[in-house]
Symmetry: C2
Subunit: 210 residues, 2 copies
């Protein structure tokens, strides 16, 4: 990641440098947000020479949107791996995914949270462009959860009276709220509570003994 880049880099070196900048931007934005992220901090973290940022990205806005896009792709894939694991029952997959999310959050010292939730808070009223992209990511995650809930209903693991898409939105939004509270209380407890009340109080299906 600390490879030095020049503006006459080969196409593959250029791609590597670009990826390093996006990776550095992700970590900095997760911690500090978009407005507070300095281009110089990104270049320094990625080991890229000062002044070459605009060779890779036309603007800070374009860079921010690229970080969101890359993060969304990676997260969506990981979510799909968990939720699409058909060796387990639908709600068990969801429960395992939450357990792992919680463990990762604790390991990071209850900091950072979700890039999409953070930026939604920061930029929803500031930029229609960012707002629309962030909402599109949340909508795509909602669809992933909705598919899982449909599957859970089909195998009789989830009560039938709840609309899978509405439930998926409620689940996702409540999760973002629990994560926000976990971040400010510096404790995983709000996520633990989300898991308990969502499974026992809302879904009312218990995962199959895991």
């Amino acid at each position: 990641m600390a490879r030095q880049a020049t503006t006459d880099a080969s196409p593959s070196a250029k791609a590597t440098t670009k990826a390093a900048l996006v990776d550095a931007g992700l970590h900095i934005m997760l911690e500090k947000g978009y407005h507070h992220m300095g281009i110089q901090d990104v270049l320094q973290a990625a080991g890229v020479p000062k002044g070459s940022f605009y060779y890779y990205f036309p603007s800070k806005e374009a860079f921010g949107l690229e970080v969101i896009a890359q993060f969304a792709v990676a997260y969506t894939e990981r979510l799909e791996q968990h939720l699409g694991d058909t060796t387990r029952s639908p709600l068990t997959r969801l429960h395992r995914h939450l357990e792992q999310t919680l463990t990762r959050f604790e390991r990071r010292g209850c900091r950072g949270g979700c890039l999409i939730g953070n930026l939604s808070q920061e930029l929803a009223d500031q930029s229609d462009l960012f707002g629309a992209r962030l909402e599109a990511v949340l909508t795509s995650w909602r669809e992933q959860y909705a598919r899982l809930f449909r599957e859970a209903q089909a195998v009789g693991e989830l009560r039938e009276d709840l609309d899978p898409q509405q439930l998926a939105d409620f689940y996702l939004n409540s999760f973002e709220g629990a994560l926000l509270r976990a971040k400010v209380s510096k404790s995983p407890e709000p996520l633990r509570l989300f898991m308990t009340l969502m499974f026992d109080g809302v879904l009312q299906g218990s995962p199959d003994g895991e």
Copy 2:
């Protein structure tokens, strides 16, 4: 609010100017967040001469904390008025409070959201001092909701198997998550969904016909 202030103002004029600055700060922070709030913008919005900010507040941080404190007092009072209205059943009070919150949010064009939620997102990882104050506000609101849920259980309006304090935390966090999504989707729908699923799916008590 646009009264001009000088640094040799009388105590009451000083208090008026301070209140005008806090009020302006609240509106600007709600829209832009803490870091993005410029002192000059606050002075201009409050009609206070340039350069006199530090006569009223020792630092931007002290100002931010004062805005949070004043907002928390005002919000807590309004919440208490709603939740303490004993002419209605506990869950009816809660439902009415949500309806009014939703109406206010729609009137503001689905912008702004909750100052405490917004600043939690922005500052939880940046400042232990802000983080602790914000968590204290959330904890005090949690206690207000917990009292209401205890009351609802006492009159048989709420299922007995849920711990009132845990339920209050879950309720508050999920509400903040729904508000965040409403802000990014620029629609009241996530709040409407929160209301439906929280009442029908979690609390499972229906408000008494209102």
